[in-house]
């Protein structure tokens, strides 16, 4: 399905097209990685809703990104249960290992590091979400293994890209 078709399918679930702005932004963000102005314009145009309605949602909800983010978005929970189980030390470990502070992206665009509020998985605290996946019961060694698996996935992707486009 094209982005437009996916958005139309989402809109069919509601009696009012304005309700489909949130799902449409999710679809658009998946397609483009983040939500720059022209993408917001396109969403407004597809749904036929006021542009300001789209902008206000893109800037209100924390899962929408109007600025580019890394290919791996490391979202470490630092709310109470994770804090009690050592999330602060994990944040320091990530900052030291990646050479960035929270809120920043590595120069190669691979990792963005954020702290987030409770992810609702406190039984496996401390927890970090990366993409769609939760990683729980983390310690420094577990984080190192996780980062290495992401770097390996990056290498595979770049090799595939090179193989798919040998002339470039």
């Amino acid at each position: 399905m094209t982005m437009r078709e996916e958005i139309e399918a989402a809109a069919a679930r509601y009696p009012d097209r304005r309700s489909a702005i949130m799902p449409a932004l999710m679809i658009a963000q998946k397609e483009h990685g983040h939500l720059p102005g022209p993408v917001l314009e396109e969403v407004a145009q597809i749904l036929g809703v006021e542009r300001v309605w789209v902008y206000e949602l893109a800037t209100f909800y924390t899962l929408f990104h109007t600025e580019p983010i890394g290919r791996f978005h490391l979202q470490l929970c630092d709310n109470v249960s994770c804090m009690l189980c050592g999330s602060e030390a994990l944040l320091t470990h990530l900052e030291t290992t990646l050479g960035i502070r929270k809120g920043e992206t590595t120069p190669d665009g691979a990792f963005t590091l954020s702290t987030v509020e409770c992810l609702g998985a406190c039984e496996m605290a401390p927890v970090m979400q990366v993409g769609d996946d939760y990683h729980g019961n983390l310690d420094a060694a577990g984080l190192d293994a996780l980062l290495e698996s992401f770097r390996a996935a990056e290498r595979v992707t770049s090799v595939e890209r090179a193989a798919a486009a040998p002339g470039e």
């Binding site: 009012d16 304005r18 206000e56 630092d78 509020e117 406190c122 039984e123 605290a125």
Partner: protein, 421 residues
């Protein structure tokens, strides 16, 4: 030995599939409801059971349903609050990931009772696995005649849609959730009108929590007397408790409503980590005021915890041991509420900003004489003066920390450092 009801499928392999759910007796309650009861009789049955909302407020579910006007005209909506943002809470995620049909059956029976043909399940955006499992389960239920047109040969039509949230704690507040479903910023509405009269798209709407809806099929199958027979009569039923923090066996526990907090923490969750002592417990997510170790005999039900100056809330039980600084804990909790304040009303937006600043300087060893009085004044300015319960939760929590652990705050100011560092 209490036999789990709500969690009976969660550890079964493929518990999320329709075949597993049916093999365990699934969708019998829906068949029974449609075949043997009128919608009003289902409402009466749920009223008799004394089921109270598991989202945090503890409002009687059957009474909430009975507020929906009978007259036709506008469509009626059922909304399921699956935003689960209260820190320390993870019960709804586990139901949706591992036993989604239990929720779908609860939705179908409840929709039949209130006369709704459409439900929206508002699931927080981070819960990607739960969303996928729910979508898969809805498709399976639809293919097998448990959702759709003329369900199980009756004249009842019903469809469930998922609405994915996008990261806003305030969507746990029911009217903010309705705003979000309508495609707006999630800010609470002024009440009245209440959602039962004018909710989603200004139509009559019932909003129930995942766990509340999951209780409904069991009440239909086993009867209201069975439900009332578990735990205190005024606050009965099986209950999910989310144990986390500094405790040996964190996890989700299903036990009767009204179990003592001490038994829950020390026996079921294994007590404190080796060499540590329990200092305090948050009984119902971070909105619930902290309970010091000496008062853990309290019974885990809506009325007992309210009487003890706290609340059952979402039953997110967070255990805090003697290695933890209560000023730091209070600061982190208020930082959370400050971050999640929707910005609509002044006492919450400005009051929490100010409160965070004072708490941070106390924790950093830069507190000043009069700061504790300042914090109390701020709590007074927030509590009872906000649109919704977010500000109240913040103020109640801080007041309890100041009351029970005042000496830690005083030590920070007098010693000009955090004694725990």
């Amino acid at each position: 030995m209490f036999e789990p009801v709500l969690l009976r499928n969660v550890d079964v392999p493929d518990g999320h599939l329709l075949s597993t759910y049916e093999a365990g007796g699934g969708y019998r309650a829906l068949r029974k409801a449609l075949g043997e009861y009128t919608p009003d009789e289902i409402v009466e049955l749920v009223k008799e059971s004394n089921l109270r909302g598991r989202g945090g407020a503890g409002f009687p579910t059957g009474m909430k349903w009975s507020f929906v006007p009978k007259a036709a005209g506008k469509p009626k909506y059922l909304c399921c609050n699956a935003d689960e943002g209260e820190p320390g809470t993870f019960k709804d995620r586990i139901i949706m990931e591992r036993d989604p049909h239990q929720l779908i059956e609860g939705l179908a029976v409840s929709a039949y009772a209130i006369g709704a043909e459409t439900a929206y399940v508002y699931i927080r955006g981070e819960y990607v696995t739960a969303i996928r499992r729910m979508e898969q389960a809805i498709a399976e239920a639809h293919e097998n005649g448990y959702l759709g047109i003329g369900i199980l040969g009756s004249d009842f039509n019903f469809m469930v849609h998922i609405h994915r949230g996008a990261g806003a704690y305030i969507c746990g507040e029911e009217t903010a959730m309705l705003e979000s479903l309508e495609g707006k910023r999630a800010q609470p509405r002024l009440k009245p009108p209440f959602p039962a009269v004018a909710g989603l798209y200004a139509s009559p709407t019932v909003i129930n929590n995942v766990e509340t809806l999951a209780c409904v099929p069991h009440i239909v199958t086993r009867g209201s007397a069975w439900f009332r027979g578990i735990g205190p009569d005024r606050s009965p039923g099986p209950k999910l408790y989310c144990l986390s923090g500094q405790v040996r066996k964190p996890g989700l526990y299903e036990l009767p409503m009204g179990i003592s907090l001490r038994e829950l923490v020390e026996e079921h969750a294994g007590g404190p980590l080796p060499g540590r002592k329990v200092k305090a417990v948050i009984p119902g997510g971070v909105s619930a005021p902290v309970i010091p170790e000496g008062e853990l005999e309290v019974s885990m039900d809506f009325d007992s915890l309210t009487a003890a100056g706290s609340m059952l809330g979402s039953a997110g039980v967070v255990v805090i041991d003697d290695s933890t600084c209560m000023v730091k804990l209070a600061t982190r909790i208020i930082e959370f509420f400050h971050h999640e304040s929707c910005g609509k009303c002044t006492p919450c937006r400005e009051g929490l900003d100010w409160t965070v600043k004072v708490l941070r300087r106390i924790e950093a060893g830069e507190g000043e004489t009069g700061d504790l009085e300042q914090l109390e004044m701020l709590c007074k300015g927030i509590f009872g003066n906000t649109f919704c319960a977010l500000g109240d939760g913040a103020a109640m929590g801080l007041r309890a920390a100041l009351k029970h652990f005042r000496e830690e705050f005083v030590a920070h100011i007098e010693e000009r450092r955090c004694p725990f560092h």
